[in-house]
């Protein structure tokens, strides 16, 4: 279907955020605030910070604010732990009217005291929510006093909801992480074959999968940020000799910081899809300039690719000619997904993100075919419009997008935080292929297109048969 210029968009202002490859001059507005009233799919600063830090398993995560914010993020991610479970609680100062009027600092101090006494954590994160910024509680001061009193680290996370969007929350989280890992007494001794893994939250054990690959290469996973991380492991972060960064959106800032201050170089990697996984492993191996590591990488890639080849092939056959729409949180994930769909023989015809960055959109636009619609901070109306126009068969997205896809009679693949199966690495690529197949090839769609019995003349036949 021909489409150009987006003149038929109800909200003209949104046109700048949407771009059709090959039909318009390149250029897309992004990294801007959401437009009021447009039903954005985006979350807030607090949410961004919380999702990044929450997987730190032995920390107390205390939300300084009213109850909703804590309630909606309790155990929100399927981040797994190999040990402590403290992170799976949602603690809140549950601010009430009187606190808003008189200030919440005292309550916060008491909350920290109580939690530290009860759980003896090595670390407390205190998250600021919307109103904390407005009522002017001095988080920094309260945390400093509490830290001194209890002899542990109490780190404020400046994540007032209105001060930017989710991406600002990622930065707030990175700032908090940096306070934690910045080596206080000089640089620790470097461990030569040791790697930090940034931007993986160990959803369904994904950090463990990548960790096992590194081990097979002869490398040590020093600490992952932040999946299955603990206070202790984070404290050793500066000892690694390389940082690899998966979710660039959330961790780019920290990787830069560590390069600058700790002299740790970083590589952007992706373990989504066969191509990206293999490519990432090769680049990691090459970095160490040791042919034995490269050799092991090749062996691993060959072995693991072969192991899943059957699944991928059989899915590919079933999926030939299908078209996908992608709407995910970050640009990086979107890029990987396009490649991954290509491995399955699927064209991506609509692609958008909540918080993609300019460079990421540039890459995205390189990757996709002419006619593909790229959009930043989309709303349900736009997703609907473009998915239908482009004849997408499936959508990849999160919880909020799923019902829309289903209502439109489209298949859907979850790429959200609470999934229970890994999508990383070779095994993850196979899982992804299976999931795409299970939804696109489900018998249910056949019935969606079957006429309602008895709706026309057939009704009489039905009645007669009864």
């Amino acid at each position: 279907m021909a489409f150009s210029g987006h003149t038929e968009l109800p909200v003209a202002e949104r046109a700048a955020f949407i771009y059709t490859k090959g039909r318009q001059k390149p250029g897309l507005k992004c990294e801007a605030d959401s437009i009021a009233g447009c039903v954005s799919q985006r979350a807030c600063v607090y949410c961004g910070a919380r999702v990044v830090l929450n997987p730190i398993t032995d920390a107390v995560h205390l939300v300084h604010g009213p109850i909703g914010c804590a309630s909606y993020t309790w155990d929100i991610r399927g981040a797994l732990s190999s040990g402590p479970e403290l992170y799976r609680n949602s603690f809140s100062t549950d601010l009430k009217e009187r606190d808003v009027i008189f200030g919440g600092e005292k309550k916060l101090a008491r909350a920290i005291d109580q939690l530290v006494e009860k759980y003896r954590p090595p670390l407390v994160f205190v998250y600021a929510t919307c109103i904390v910024g407005v009522i002017g509680d001095d988080l920094e001061a309260v945390c400093r006093v509490a830290a001194r009193k209890h002899g542990i680290e109490v780190i404020p996370v400046q994540s007032s909801g209105f001060a930017g969007n989710k991406a600002a929350g990622y930065r707030a989280a990175c700032a908090a992480l940096w306070r934690l890992i910045e080596p206080a007494g000089g640089m620790p001794e470097k461990k030569s074959l040791s790697v930090n893994y940034l931007g993986d939250f160990n959803l369904a054990g994904e950090v463990w999968i990548v960790g096992s690959y590194l081990k097979q290469l002869g490398l040590e996973l020093n600490v992952a940020f932040t999946g299955d991380a603990t206070y202790r492991s984070l404290k050793n972060a500066a000892a690694a000799s390389l940082n690899i960064v998966q979710c660039a959106g959330s961790m780019h800032y920290l990787a830069e910081k560590m390069q600058e201050s700790c002299g740790i170089p970083y590589l952007n990697v992706s373990f989504l899809g066969l191509e990206d996984t293999a490519d990432s492993l090769r680049r990691i191996a090459r970095f160490f300039g040791d042919h034995r590591i490269e050799q092991r990488a090749e062996e691993l890639i060959a072995r693991e690719t072969a192991a899943v080849a059957g699944v991928i092939q059989s899915c590919r056959k079933k999926l030939a000619g299908k078209r996908a729409a992608v709407y995910v949180g970050g640009g990086f994930k979107a890029i990987s997904l396009i490649k991954q769909f290509r491995e399955l023989g699927i064209d991506v015809v609509v692609v958008g993100t909540q918080t993609g960055r300019r460079q990421e959109y540039a890459v995205l636009s390189e990757l996709v075919d002419n006619g593909t619609v790229i959009l930043d901070d989309a709303n349900p109306a736009e997703l609907e419009k473009f998915m239908l126009e482009k004849g997408a068969h499936l959508l990849v997205g999160g919880v909020k997008e799923r019902p829309l896809a289903y209502k439109l009679g489209l298949a859907f693949v979850d790429h959200n935080h609470d999934r229970k199966h890994p999508l990383s690495g070779f095994i993850g690529a196979a899982n992804f292929a299976r999931e795409v197949c299970s939804t696109v090839c489900s018998p249910v769609w056949r019935y969606v297109h079957t006429p309602v019995p008895g709706a026309r003349a057939g009704g009489a036949v039905w009645a007669a048969a009864l």
Partner: protein, 466 residues
């Protein structure tokens, strides 16, 4: 003697049992024809709530945000709010917009009522109703938000009306399936009714083509306008404060006789509802309902010995908790912990007579969090939990099986289809409870008896964590 925990001033909420006010206030609007909601605050609030609601209802939950940013927070959000309204109208063409505030908007003192009035004066959008509700996240729980919004809808839309024979039915936060059941019952009685809110179709819509951005259904605005002339109001809400009760408003302002009834879950509560319908219509109980009643009794007898072994922890919104507790009592299940996240203090008094009859003396918790619910459940040796999905924490930590009921059900499908009202719904609800007790008994009795009589139990080795 009742044990009542004082809901004293606590500094920290550990794993919330409730959500914030605006979330509750969204729902009544979803039950009004062609209504949309705009949340005045930072983008994250509405996104969280949409996510939460989408997981429960498995339906697109489009809710707009005024996307307040730093500037709006400092200089006032009027411009954002008006722009939000403009865009929402363009995207959805709603007939009603509910404007809800958040923590942020309330704290910076936004006067949404004034802005809404200005907007209507300036733009004169034909046939658009704006209804503002003040719902600071810290002002109460989602239960209060729900009724407050309902009352505001009635106050805003109900005008002077001729007397007519219809009955107003005010529904609390039930499932769409429950609302459909209530409608079926009313139809069997052949009563003319106005049900508010009615999200039985809008939040559990059939798959239909073409997709409509605002799903069809909901109480018609012109019916709400007539509520002041109704013969009577039946408010299925005993625990609601008069100040936020829509029924009280209709009684005081329009002289509509008010009957406050509990949610018709269980034999006794459903009988009350039927009694009243009989009185109001002068007709006898329809034969099919009489048969359903007989079936419920039959079901209660079949299950009574199994149920006698139940020691229940019941939690959630006060109104639902009241209904479930009385349901347990009439089935011989002993409520041992009765908890709500709200500040409700009416429950013990309301349940007093029934508790005395049966000799049960549960521990009541208000402003409860799951930490306290868990402690008390362990202390009181609860063996079954009845409430929303967050109670899965009790299953995981204490091995107490959970019968999912209420809101949110975000870890299972079908929350919107759970049926628990009327005689027929009570049968289904009771079966769910009894079968859960049976399953847990059958799973454990071999080991339990072995340990009790063959070899004395070793020390309890369960690890305590968070």
């Amino acid at each position: 003697m009742l044990e009542q925990e004082a809901a004293d001033y606590r500094a920290v909420n550990e794993n919330p049992c409730h959500m914030c006010m605006p979330l509750g206030a969204i729902l009544p609007f979803k039950g009004v024809e062609r209504a949309m909601v705009l949340i005045h605050g930072s983008q994250g609030c509405s996104t969280y709530m949409r996510r939460h609601l989408a997981e429960h209802f498995h339906e697109p939950i489009d809710v707009a945000s005024s996307a307040l940013n730093e500037q709006g927070t400092i200089y006032g959000g009027e411009a954002s709010l008006k722009k939000g309204l403009d865009n929402l109208v363009k995207l959805y063409q709603p007939g009603v917009i509910g404007i809800l505030t958040t923590c942020l908007a309330e704290t910076i003192g936004e006067d949404t009522a004034r802005v809404a009035a200005d907007y209507l004066r300036e733009k004169r959008p034909p046939g658009l109703h704006l209804i503002t509700v003040s719902t600071p996240g810290y002002g109460g729980t989602h239960s209060e938000g729900y009724f407050l919004a309902l009352r505001r809808i009635v106050v805003s839309l109900t005008g002077r009306s001729e007397k007519h024979p219809a009955i107003n039915i005010i529904a609390p936060h039930l499932s769409p399936a429950d609302l459909r059941e209530i409608k079926r019952i009313l139809e069997l009685w052949q009563v003319d009714y106005i049900l508010l809110p009615d999200f039985s179709e809008t939040l559990d819509g059939p798959l239909a083509r073409p997709y409509k951005k605002i799903p069809p259904g909901g109480t018609r605005v012109r019916d709400i306008a007539r509520m002041g002339g109704a013969r009577a109001t039946i408010q299925l809400g005993l625990t609601v404060d008069d100040a936020i009760s829509p029924g009280c408003y209709l009684a005081e302002e329009c002289g509509v006789p008010l009957y406050k009834l509990p949610v018709p879950t269980g034999l006794a509560n459903t009988d009350l509802f039927m009694e009243l319908l009989g009185q109001l219509t002068g007709r006898p109980l329809p034969a099919s309902l009489a048969r359903e009643r007989g079936r419920l009794l039959d079901c209660m007898i079949d299950a009574h010995k199994h149920n006698a072994q139940g020691r229940a922890v019941i939690f959630g919104e006060p109104e639902i908790v009241y209904a479930v507790t009385s349901f347990c009592l009439e089935n011989g299940i002993e409520p041992v912990v009765v908890a709500t996240g709200s500040n409700d203090h009416r429950l013990p008094g309301l349940l007093k007579n029934r508790l005395e009859e049966t000799g049960a003396s549960p521990c009541f918790l208000r402003e409860a969090d799951f930490q306290r619910i868990r402690e008390k459940s362990r202390e009181r040796e609860a063996n079954i939990a009845i409430g929303h999905s967050d109670g899965r924490y009790l299953t995981e930590k204490e091995g107490i099986p959970l019968v999912r009921h209420g809101f949110p059900i975000h870890d299972r499908v079908g929350g919107q289809r759970l049926l628990s009202v009327g005689y027929a719904g009570s049968i289904m609800f009771l079966d769910r409870i009894t079968n859960t007790l049976l399953e847990s008994k059958h799973q454990n009795y071999r080991l339990r008896l072995y340990q009790a009589f063959y070899r004395p139990a070793g020390p309890d080795s369960r690890q305590e964590e968070g």
